[in-house]
């Protein structure tokens, strides 16, 4: 992770809004106090505002991981673009993957305006120094996987992203609104693929069930282990508003009934809603697996990073070409 004190906002010190923490005449501790009051009270922060390093690095880490996940997330699906069985499915999947690249663009832009150049973020990702979400470390084995991922992985993601639309960091919040709007189409595409196969031939139905059985574990791990709301720095700074468990419960509440109405089963015997409490009980996810996977020891982690590295190196000449001589320009 980059040294937080080395982060210089890339934006010139334009006119800052006249909130108290932007007053350069105050000392650091006073500015920090005003800033904390502003943010914990629901106030918004823009890219040009003064921020304590703690907030800046916390947001940057959060957004950077999100951006990395979009960039790596294209890889599991992209190979199936070539194999899509109808023209419409091919167009839909190409458009979906294109959207993910677009999301990476939006998120790297947000992160870059916090002080870390895009090239540095991509390099850190390729060097294994920064992370990306667990679900993108697994293989896709069949067209059925494409349906399951587009429907349920995107659904789990949108549950988290909807909650981020009120993030204290306004550029990120605004980006989430655009992303949620685009993701809702992906979910419909995914659900359409799943429903079509679930009501198709026996082989198609079996393929969907098998894919679901394989993906359920990573899906349940996706929102992360339960955290203590009081100790969660992302919640303290209102970068995010909901805990992992709240997101997981929300996901289960919406999607378990929709999975079951297709006659599909879930590989989780205890999975059930307690009508009295409104809480879903479930088999405890394998948090060791999650830890192993997000530290780049998942089944496809190295292969995908290798692929990205090779691709990045192979296209460096293009970036150099359209920028004249970028190294000279920076110096």
């Amino acid at each position: 992770m980059t040294d937080p004190l080395a982060l210089d906002p890339v934006l010139p010190p334009r006119e800052r809004s006249a909130l108290p923490f932007n007053d350069a005449a105050l000392d650091h501790d006073e500015r920090y106090r005003h800033f904390a009051e502003h943010v914990t009270g629901g106030g918004k922060v823009e890219a040009t505002d003064w921020m304590p390093d703690e907030y800046r690095t916390q947001v940057l880490r959060f957004v950077e991981m999100h951006a990395n996940s979009e960039l790596m997330g294209v890889l599991p699906e992209r190979e199936w673009i070539m194999r899509a069985p109808t023209l419409r499915r091919k167009l839909a999947l190409t458009a979906k993957v294109q959207d993910e690249v677009g999301h990476a663009q939006l998120l790297y832009r947000v992160a870059e305006d916090l002080g870390k150049p895009r090239e540095a973020m991509i390099q850190d990702l390729l060097d294994g120094k920064t992370k990306f979400h667990n679900v993108f470390h697994y293989p896709t084995k069949s067209w059925a996987d494409i349906g399951i991922i587009a429907w349920l992985v995107d659904a789990a993601a949108i549950v988290a992203q909807q909650a981020l639309r009120d993030s204290s960091y306004a550029p990120y919040a605004r980006t989430m609104k655009k992303i949620c709007w685009e993701e809702s189409v992906h979910i419909m595409h995914g659900r359409d693929v799943v429903v079509t196969m679930a009501t198709g031939t026996p082989a198609q139905r079996a393929a969907i069930q098998e894919a679901l059985d394989r993906w359920w574990g990573p899906l349940m791990q996706m929102h992360g282990p339960r955290s203590d709301r009081a100790k969660d720095r992302d919640i303290h700074w209102r970068i995010k508003a909901k805990t992992s468990e709240e997101l997981r419960q929300e996901f289960l509440g919406i999607y378990v009934p929709r999975i079951r109405e297709l006659g599909l089963t879930l590989p989780d015997a205890p999975l059930a809603l307690d009508p009295a409490t409104g809480v879903w009980a479930y088999d405890e996810p394998d948090w060791n697996e999650l830890r192993t996977v997000v530290t780049n020891h998942g089944p496809m982690s190295q292969e995908r990073l290798d692929f990205r590295r090779a691709n990045w190196a192979a296209t460096q000449w293009v970036r150099d070409a359209i920028l004249g001589s970028p190294r000279a320009a920076v110096a």
Partner: protein, 270 residues
């Protein structure tokens, strides 16, 4: 000129495609659709791995546009041949030798320079073809082409700016572009090689001018740009009689991949 029998691969069955007009029209539609399909397919491989994030999104849009054009053209073909096949059946259910795309598009997408070079050569040639079809006596085709031409304007703007940048950047960029143009140059004109049935197409007003005229206009345009950028002139088309047959191993591999899922459960709905 080759006769139909030598030209038509096994899987294309124009039974009931009665008189010269329908057959010639069907062949024209199929070549146009296959061209769009193959280049759209090939360029869609860049989705997710483009050289710059914003450009990744752009090239994917171009690829999707081509696939959309292919889908619409296969739709017209469906109506013209009327043998029960739908657009997906045309797109997917032929063996590799049954595809009639131009040999230019058999080249693998290669590196970014190869992709831009091929796109430039194809989009400019296609533009000349579309111009000749714009006032087609076959109304559905004329209407579709009017829409396609409007979409292609962006393609031409985009590839134009890229080929200029790659050429002007010098060094490795220019070298790669020159290598790509050298490899593809002899196949560039295959898009506009005369089709069997051309006399019929002209007689019925399906196309406004012969392919040779389209090609001449295209070569003038490309020649002017290349001279301005200091790029060598394109050579004449090699083996124009087989402009759309004898497909490469690269295409066969693409075909195997694109039909993989569909072949796994024939007749299933996806």
């Amino acid at each position: 000129m080759t006769d139909f029998a030598a030209f038509e691969p096994l899987a294309i069955d124009f039974t009931g495609a009665g008189d010269g007009r329908v057959r010639a029209l069907a062949l024209l539609l199929l070549t146009m659709a296959d061209d769009e399909f193959v280049i759209g397919f090939s360029d869609s491989e860049w989705t997710g791995i483009g050289p710059i994030l914003e450009e990744d999104v752009a090239i994917s849009s171009l690829a999707q546009d081509e696939l959309g054009h292919a889908q619409a053209l296969y739709g017209l073909l469906t109506d013209t041949v009327a043998d029960g096949r739908d657009a997906d059946a045309w797109a997917y259910d032929r063996p590799p030798e049954g595809y009639l795309h131009a040999r230019l598009l058999d080249h693998h997408r290669g590196d970014w320079a190869a992709t831009i070079a091929r796109r430039y050569l194809y989009d400019t040639a296609d533009s000349a073809r579309l111009e000749a079809v714009a006032s087609s006596s076959h109304r559905p085709l004329a209407e579709l082409v009017a829409k396609i031409r409007r979409e292609e304007r962006y393609h031409l703007m985009h590839v134009q700016t890229w080929i200029e940048r790659l050429a002007d950047a010098g060094g490795e960029s220019r070298a790669r572009l020159l290598a790509a143009l050298e490899a593809m140059g002899p196949d560039a004109g295959t898009v506009l090689a005369p089709l069997p049935g051309e006399p019929s197409l002209l007689r019925h007003g399906i196309i406004a001018e012969p392919f040779a005229t389209m090609e001449a206009r295209w070569r003038d345009g490309v020649g002017a740009t290349f001279r301005r950028l200091g790029l060598p002139d394109l050579p004449p088309t090699s083996d124009p009689a087989h402009a759309r047959s004898g497909h490469s191993d690269a295409f066969r591999a693409l075909h195997a991949e694109l039909t993989m899922v569909r072949r796994s459960e024939v007749g299933a709905t996806w």
